[in-house]
């Protein structure tokens, strides 16, 4: 019996519209193994904690990241990307002392402020992968290693330890038209895409990255809308 039934249906947003996106767990797992190559450059100690800030419908983008943490022997923990759950970000940072927090968006910054916490204090000494709407603010915080993370269609672009923004090159082919990044799937996927207009402007960069990960490098200029 052949089944093309999805395991998870998440979504992606491009040009202000949100679309359902289906995936098999095997697709997410293999993307996670690839993503571990970006994370290895950070040399986080196995057993360290990494906090992911996301929402459930971002499963297609963040399940690979979480699987990569497992592959590397790190402990993942989670908070919702919501001002209401920013208190959890502070509590988990205090309790677990995570080496990194991934997915920080403006909602977290707003929520921390609303609850009387200093985001700079919560993030100090950690690697913070910030979304485009929060990157500038996080990057200005002293003592914080600000890195970029972005949901580019159904893929997760992640900045490595050497400052390169990588995207899984075995899984996705990225092309540029009118400065906009277009995404096409290269492998068998339950929901294949071809030249998806991601809504991100940017540029593909030539040459290998000094982090040792051969995945394509890009310059992300942010959402174009």
């Amino acid at each position: 019996m052949t089944s093309v039934h999805p395991d998870q249906i998440g979504c992606y947003t491009a040009h202000g519209e949100t679309h359902f996106y289906s995936a098999k767990r095997t697709e997410l797992d293999r993307a996670g193994v690839q993503m571990a190559r970006t994370l290895t450059g950070y040399a986080f100690q196995p057993g360290s904690y990494v906090l992911t800030v996301s929402v459930v419908q971002e499963v297609v983008q963040f399940a690979p990241f979480e699987f990569a943490l497992q592959v590397l022997g790190l402990y993942g923990t989670n908070a919702d990307l919501s001002p209401f759950d920013a208190g959890r970000v502070e509590a988990l940072a205090r309790q677990f002392d995570p080496v990194a927090i991934c997915g920080v968006g403006n909602e977290v910054l707003e929520g921390l402020k609303m609850m009387g916490h200093s985001a700079a204090d919560v993030f100090k000494g950690r690697t913070i992968w910030a979304r485009p709407d929060a990157f500038e603010a996080v990057n200005a915080m002293p003592g914080v290693m600000a890195k970029k993370v972005a949901l580019v269609g159904p893929a997760l672009a992640l900045e490595c330890a050497q400052g390169g923004v990588h995207l899984d090159g075995r899984e996705w082919e990225v092309s540029v038209e009118n400065k906009e990044l277009l995404l096409s799937s290269r492998q068998f996927r339950i929901d294949p895409i071809h030249k998806l207009k991601t809504g991100f402007t940017g540029e593909m960069l030539a040459g290998p990255c000094s982090c040792g990960n051969p995945d394509p490098l890009m310059r992300l200029d942010g959402p174009s809308q």
């Binding site: 395991d7 249906i9 359902f20 022997g73 993942g76």
Partner: protein, 438 residues
């Protein structure tokens, strides 16, 4: 052959219909094994047992367990956490290679408590059984609404069964997408479907003119959770063609949900051992008596909660259920810590819910009991109302609420009305603290 043409069994796991004799023997064996494991691996349990002078070898029967094993509370876990700088509170077993991620509790009453997750958590097992009972089968879709703090994106218990999860936040903003998914994928179930989302659906249907019966026509049920289900929501969702199955937490050990008999929450007895004790004296109570629910995990080696006092007031029934399953059910009356005594009369938030929701302006059921102490001379309620639905004046609404609640509760009453948006700021979208000191 299509997936749904296969004749699947009516229950997911045969243990759900095991005989009482088998369950009792299984529990006795599992309790002994879990006690041994917990004392060997969880520092807090080891300390508590040492303080009580009890050893795992002393536990040879359920009777021994109930007579000798010390109780564990959330405060014990928090105190150990603070004293030992251990985020797991001395309760969690750090097992490299087994701990897949670390989830946390809601944190409604303080710092969230860490809950290490194995590949498949007990709660995932119980929810899979609950969805299966509702009628979800391989090849189906369900709408999956949750918070990521429960375990992130690693959940795969349903996909392992061939059931696709369509993922959403528990947020009113997701309602249009849930409607779209319901019409496109025709899911057979959804969880968790809480009060605020029902209210958001109601507003959406009122404004959009969409036919809820058509939107939900593929659903065989929906798992409702977060807070008790009120009569208004029950009637409303019934008119949409949705049968709701209430679920609750089994003391951070697993989930427990109603079956089609709607006669209590099924506590899966291969996953947890449940008992009741007097909430004040901690004396063991017989099944059927109202007491505080105490839960022991029988399966979770990473978070071996043993005799964990949940703070929930329940009555347990271990007689076979009409649904064909044999595991215990319990009726939930409310939180022991939420209980107040007004001139000697016991009052719990669940009782107030059925009254507040009857008014259009307060249909969202947002209220708090102000409880500076457990025993009070008058009932103080803070009730949130939807300013846009005000029919007359705030004073008139207050008068209506006062008359109705006073007549039902029959104790002196003090009401405070505020904009419900102010109450919503006090908590995540699914629930607010129902009892507050000020």
């Amino acid at each position: 052959m299509a997936l749904n043409e296969i004749q699947y069994p009516s229950i997911l796991d045969p243990i759900e219909a095991a005989s009482r004799e088998f369950l009792d023997r299984h529990q006795e064996a599992s309790l002994a094994a879990m006690c041994e494991h917990a004392v060997s691996n969880a520092p807090l349990i080891r300390k508590m047992w040492a303080d009580a002078g009890v050893r795992p070898s002393d536990i040879k029967s359920v009777a021994d367990f109930r007579e000798k094993v010390p109780f564990l509370t959330k405060d014990d876990i928090r105190a150990f956490r603070d004293a030992h700088n251990d985020p797991t509170g001395g309760m969690s077993v750090d097992s490299p290679g087994q701990t897949v991620s670390v989830g946390t509790t809601s944190g409604t009453t303080g710092d969230p408590t860490p809950v290490p997750n194995w590949r498949r958590t007990p709660a995932e097992d119980t929810y899979a059984r609950d969805h299966w009972h509702i009628g979800v089968r391989p090849g189906d879709h369900i709408c999956h609404m949750l918070f990521t703090f429960r375990g992130g994106h690693r959940r795969r218990s349903l996909s392992e069964l061939g059931i696709a999860e369509i993922c959403f936040s528990i947020s009113p903003f997701e309602v249009p997408r849930i409607v779209e998914a319901s019409k496109r994928f025709r899911p057979t179930s959804m969880s968790i479907f809480p009060n605020p989302l029902i209210n958001a659906f109601e507003q959406y249907f009122e404004k959009s003119g969409e036919d809820p019966v058509d939107v939900f026509r593929s659903y065989k049920g929906a798992i409702f959770g977060g807070e008790p289900l009120g009569e208004r929501q029950k009637a409303l969702t019934k008119s949409w063609g949705l049968e709701l199955f209430e679920t609750t937490s089994l003391g951070d050990v697993a989930g427990a949900a109603e079956c089609r008999q709607h006669d209590g929450f099924h506590a899966y007895e291969d996953i947890a051992y449940i008992e009741t004790v007097d909430p004040i004296t901690a004396e063991p109570l017989a099944d059927g008596e109202i007491g505080e629910l105490v839960v022991t995990s029988l399966v979770d080696r990473l978070s071996p909660l043993v005799r964990y006092r949940t703070g929930d007031l329940v009555s347990i029934d271990r007689s076979p259920c009409g649904c064909g399953r044999t595991h215990a059910r319990f009726k939930l009356l409310g939180r022991a810590t939420d209980q107040i005594l007004v001139q000697g009369r016991s009052i719990l938030p669940r009782e107030i819910m059925g009254l507040v929701e009857k008014h259009s302006e307060t249909r969202a059921n947002l209220f708090q009991i102000i409880r500076p102490s457990r025993e009070m001379e008058e009932l103080k309620l803070r009730i949130g109302y939807d300013v846009s639905r005000l029919k007359d004046s705030e004073g008139a609404l207050k008068s209506r609420l006062y008359d109705q609640i006073s007549a039902a509760i029959e104790v002196p009453l003090v009401l405070e009305l505020i904009d419900e948006q102010e109450l919503l700021k006090l908590g995540p979208p699914h629930k607010i603290p129902r009892v507050t000191k000020i």
